[in-house]
């Protein structure tokens, strides 16, 4: 029926944005998804925007304190740590005021745990969308990491105020802070996508997560500097990518030397890269069957 075939040829009548996949889709059982399809992610950027916007909009609906939660969590934790570790246990603080030291570690840490918690449920809570329309599933964990940036920004502003209050001037290294943030976001996304998929298969992951993050909190130089860790343990300790992130963060903020050796920094970075690459690979292998895992 040539007359009807014309309908498909008349592609021009379709709005450009609807033609995002060149309007021919091939579905095959033995199709292997690329590990990271940047072009496709870009084509679906409006979806990412919508997901981020919704996350931010919904986050503090029906709460009394609202955005205040963003401030309360790090501030109260800093207060407790200052009293406990700073005053009573006299933990060293790289020559900084202890509260500033602790707070500067909490800023990246709280972002990290926030992204992990949100990522662990992002596929489950968006089941309605997953079962309804096609879009790159990677956008879901990505959007949680991006939406979390609002909170991160607020805590960084407070950090700036604290630095001014303590008269701790940041130098030219502050210009490198965005690189540190990028590293932080990368680590958070890498861990987040692992947890997002694992939690679909084993809900144990969500149960274990609060406990696990609490353990890792003690294995990350937030309340104490890395220099407190015995020499023989340092390399193993640095395999936690957050060790590198926090060391870089403090290095960029304050005019203090890097808290860890270059070898440790390299180990931490390598761990971060392995986390992200393996996470993307794992996700790409599972992406097409996410909707099957007993949630739809």
């Amino acid at each position: 029926m040539p007359a009807k075939i014309g309908v498909i040829d008349a592609d021009a009548s379709i709005p450009a944005s609807l033609r995002r996949t060149a309007s021919i889709a091939s579905i095959h059982a033995d199709f292997t998804a690329p590990v990271l399809n940047v072009r496709e992610l870009w084509a679906y950027r409006e979806v990412l925007y919508a997901l981020v916007w919704r996350d931010i909009k919904v986050r503090y609906a029906q709460t009394v304190v609202g955005v205040g939660w963003v401030v309360l969590q790090p501030v109260l934790t800093t207060a407790v740590l200052t009293l406990l570790a700073g005053r009573w246990m006299r933990a060293p603080a790289q020559g900084l005021s202890y509260s500033l030291f602790a707070y500067s570690g909490l800023v990246p840490w709280i972002y990290f745990t926030h992204v992990l918690t949100k990522s662990s449920v992002c596929l489950l809570s968006n089941n309605g969308l997953l079962s309804k329309a096609y879009f790159p599933r990677l956008l879901l964990p990505l959007s949680t990491a991006i939406a979390g940036l609002v909170d991160l920004f607020v805590t960084i502003v407070i950090l700036g105020l604290l630095m001014i209050y303590h008269g701790t001037a940041g130098g030219f290294r502050l210009l490198l802070l965005p690189c540190c943030l990028l590293l932080l976001i990368m680590v958070a996304i890498g861990t987040g996508i692992w947890i997002a998929v694992l939690n679909l298969y084993h809900r144990d992951v969500a149960h274990a997560l609060p406990f696990a993050t609490q353990l890792v909190f003690f294995m990350t130089p937030i309340a104490y500097p890395s220099s407190l860790v015995p020499q023989s343990w340092r390399l193993l300790y640095s395999l936690n990518p957050m060790v590198g992130v926090i060391a870089c963060f403090r290095w960029a903020l304050f005019a203090s030397p890097l808290d860890i050796s270059l070898l440790q920094l390299t180990a931490s970075m390598m761990a971060a890269v392995v986390l992200v690459v393996s996470g993307l690979f794992y996700f790409s292998r599972k992406e097409r069957i996410l909707a099957d895992v007993g949630i739809v």
Partner: protein, 262 residues
Amino acid sequence: MSQYAIQAQGLGKRFRVGMHSTRGMHEAIERLVREPFSAFRSSPAGTPGDSHSRDDGFWALRHVSFELTPGEVVGVLGANGAGKSVLLKILSRVTAPSEGGAQICGNVGPLLEVGAGFHPELTGRENVYFNGAILGMDRDQIRRKFDDIVAFSGVEQFIDMAVKFYSSGMRIRLAFSIAVHLEPEIMLIDETLAVGDASFQAKCRRKLAEFAAQGCTLLMVSHDETAITELCDRAILFSHGRMIKDGDVSDVLRRYREGEGK
């Protein structure tokens, strides 16, 4: 370019039975450790976590091949569990097939089914923008069509109320309304029409007929024989995951009724 809107070749979908049954702590832990690594071996994507047990599986759909020419309106019939919804999920790329493949030529609208992807905390208006974006409209397009969408859905009064307070009928009307205003070339419909009240159902049927007249390809799952007779040029009957009849609507309907009678 293909002369078909949809061309399915040997589509099949297998689910593992009892995928989540835990046969003891030891096995559960072993699976937890092994599962991530199974992704790194080359296992077919359509078989969830099937690193061990390759044979115990349930084929929800198998050996399904058909062609839809652009502008065709086809009804999909079958008893519950015949594989109709799985077929639509594969064609809308919500899930991947375990076997075979399909070529889809044209923009596929959202898979319409009961319980749309609305966020309960957002208002109707916000959900229209959110869903529109998920389904491929940019903000300008949604703005232009917003009034039409709301008018068609008939929930004007409640558009600034959180969707959690909507009735299920209101939700599906709004969801359907967004979907039809996307103007897709191919629409996959999964028993949505059964949800709204009689007048909304009639309105939807008119809208779908209008789409069909414009050359939109429709593949609709329905138990509503009147809707199928009224709208479709062709019907396909499924039973236990296999296509058992494909052809003229009245023939297929007769066979469908026979099957139900047994």
